[in-house]
């Protein structure tokens, strides 16, 4: 078995490098002192980060992204949690079908969803508006919330609520004292995930947004497609950092919940 173990370890190492190396390269280049993307950089500086902060286009994009991701995360989490509760605990006829239908945006290519939204919004004047953006982002993040909260609900032992009832807890008390606290980490982590997904969302924003309503990914997209300098590497590194922080927060939530595997 030794040879196979070795082969497995080799592939794992290769995949690990393959997954992380590009991000590390971008991180290093973002600190370059040169205005071209040479690797390794000839020297190090913070000039591209300064560039980023000074350029109103980038700062506007960050502000637009935040204005979209906050309502998106809140709405998605509220709607998704409610839907997951109904689907898993509601004993609804046809819950399986409805649940699968709500997951559809995960398998329908984002480009189709976005083009459809663009067409639908034209008559309503929602293209280029914040509301239109938020609705589009809710559509693409909602399935993830339903899936995350739903799987947490499914792994929640229904006997705990039964036990609470035999101990004298009304359904409302059992929900508040037992179900909700046990579900909270999953709800928070789905909110985090929705926020990150919204922050990263490109295609919906590309279609529904406008020249004045540009999110960070849209701004990056138009920069990458033109002549780009390490400023893009700097914003990419910041996005990467945001992802790492989100990942750490999520791990923390999981641990707080006591690793109920």
């Amino acid at each position: 078995m030794g040879r196979w173990r070795l082969l497995r370890a080799l592939v794992c190492a290769l995949v690990g490098i393959y997954l992380v190396a590009p991000l590390v390269v971008v991180l290093i280049i973002s600190f370059s002192s040169a205005s071209f993307l040479r690797f390794p950089p000839p020297g190090y500086s913070l000039r591209w980060y300064e560039n980023l902060v000074r350029d109103p286009a980038w700062m506007d994009a960050v502000w637009v992204s935040i204005q979209i991701l906050v309502p998106t995360a809140l709405l998605s989490t509220a709607l998704g949690t409610a839907a997951a509760l109904a689907l898993i605990r509601g004993r609804l006829p046809g819950a399986g079908f409805v649940g699968a239908a709500l997951m559809a945006p995960l398998v329908v290519p984002s480009i189709i969803t976005s083009a459809g939204l663009y067409i639908a919004y034209r008559g309503l004047g929602l293209n280029g508006t914040l509301a239109g953006m938020v609705i589009g982002h809710v559509v693409v993040t909602l399935p993830c919330v339903i899936a995350t909260v739903g799987s947490a609900l499914r792994s929640l032992d229904p006997r705990l609520e039964a036990a609470a009832a035999t101990l004298g807890a009304t359904p409302a008390a059992a929900f508040r004292r037992i179900t909700l606290p046990l579900l909270a980490p999953a709800v928070l982590s789905s909110m985090l995930f929705a926020a990150v997904l919204s922050f990263d969302e490109l295609i919906v924003s590309l279609f529904v947004g406008s020249a004045r309503l540009r999110t960070v990914p849209v701004q990056m997209w138009s920069n990458i497609r033109g002549d780009f300098d390490p400023t893009v590497a700097a914003i990419a590194s910041l996005c990467f950092l945001v992802a790492l922080i989100a990942l750490a927060l999520e791990a923390l939530l999981r641990r707080r919940n006591g690793d109920r595997e």
Partner: protein, 281 residues
């Protein structure tokens, strides 16, 4: 035992909880997608002329075939790389599992655009990878790694890996790790034991992963735009062009229709093979 679940909410309550999400999905997802698809049959005038156009114009057909070919090429590469990683996560030491999970989660949480951009940087003509290969003497001149099929595949596989590794891992974790040693004690060589025992048991996870990779790849847009050349144009880009620049709703609708039909067909096939439960995971 025979005791069932208890005091489930009944009556109108669950429907009211479900309503907001269902309405949003109906109005802001099903309806718009339906409108786009309807354009295929109504724009600029009612009829099937948009589909005839797809069939007759070599550009469209070429892009459609191209899309399927690229997805078909990326799928096995992704699976072959994902399989050993998922296996090590499922049956390796806790330390290995934690490390690999972390390595796979990083790209999972990082945006596709950032990762694609990072791959552009890495694969450039004078980028780090070419520099490294030249410096250690593997090659004499920089290789063309980007703006061609290689670039698209390298970028696509990288972004798809996490989406296969996790489902594969969760299906492998359910495989009893003593089955392989058991097969070995019965005289099977490691290769035969793997082919006859382990591989069949991991097949549902593998098929689910393959379908998901193929389907996501069909709709790819960012990767071919950033890492491919004109010859690697995929349907997603074509749809964007039709809507964004040309305003040809009908063609965009017809292309979407074909893309969705292929996706739905593949999901249906997977459902018949491994059951919908596995797809929903």
């Amino acid at each position: 035992m025979e005791a069932g679940p208890v005091n489930g909410r009944r009556g109108a309550g669950p429907w009211l909880l479900l309503l907001p999400a269902a309405l949003v999905m109906l109005i802001a997802f099903a309806l718009p997608v339906g409108m786009l698809l309807a354009r295929a049959f109504t724009h600029p005038e009612p009829g099937l002329q948009n589909f005839i156009l797809l069939w007759e114009r070599p550009v469209y057909l070429h892009v459609l075939v191209n899309t399927v070919m690229i997805a078909a090429a990326a799928t096995p590469v992704t699976l072959i790389l994902a399989y050993p990683v998922a296996h090590a996560m499922a049956h390796g030491s806790p330390r290995t599992r934690r490390l690999l999970t972390f390595l796979v989660l990083i790209p999972f949480w990082t945006s596709l655009l950032v990762r694609s951009f990072a791959t552009v940087i890495l694969l450039q003509r004078r980028g780090p990878l070419n520099t490294l290969l030249v410096n250690i003497g593997v090659i004499d001149a920089p290789l063309p790694l980007i703006y061609n099929l290689t670039g698209v595949l390298l970028g696509a596989v990288q972004t798809l890996l996490p989406f296969v590794i996790f489902p594969l891992y969760s299906s492998m974790r359910r495989i009893d790790p003593t089955l392989m040693p058991a097969a070995l004690t019965m005289g099977a060589s490691p290769v035969r034991a793997f082919l006859r025992v382990y591989l069949p048991l991991s097949l549902p996870g593998l098929m689910t992963g393959a379908t998901l990779v193929f389907i996501s790849m069909l709709g790819y847009f960012v990767i071919p735009a950033l890492l491919g050349g004109p010859r690697q144009t995929m349907v997603g880009q074509l749809i964007q062009d039709q809507v964004g620049q040309l305003g040809s709703w009908g063609v965009a609708g017809a292309l979407s229709f074909v893309l969705l039909a292929v996706t739905a067909g593949l999901l249906g096939l997977l459902h018949r093979l491994v059951g919908l439960k596995a797809v929903a995971r």
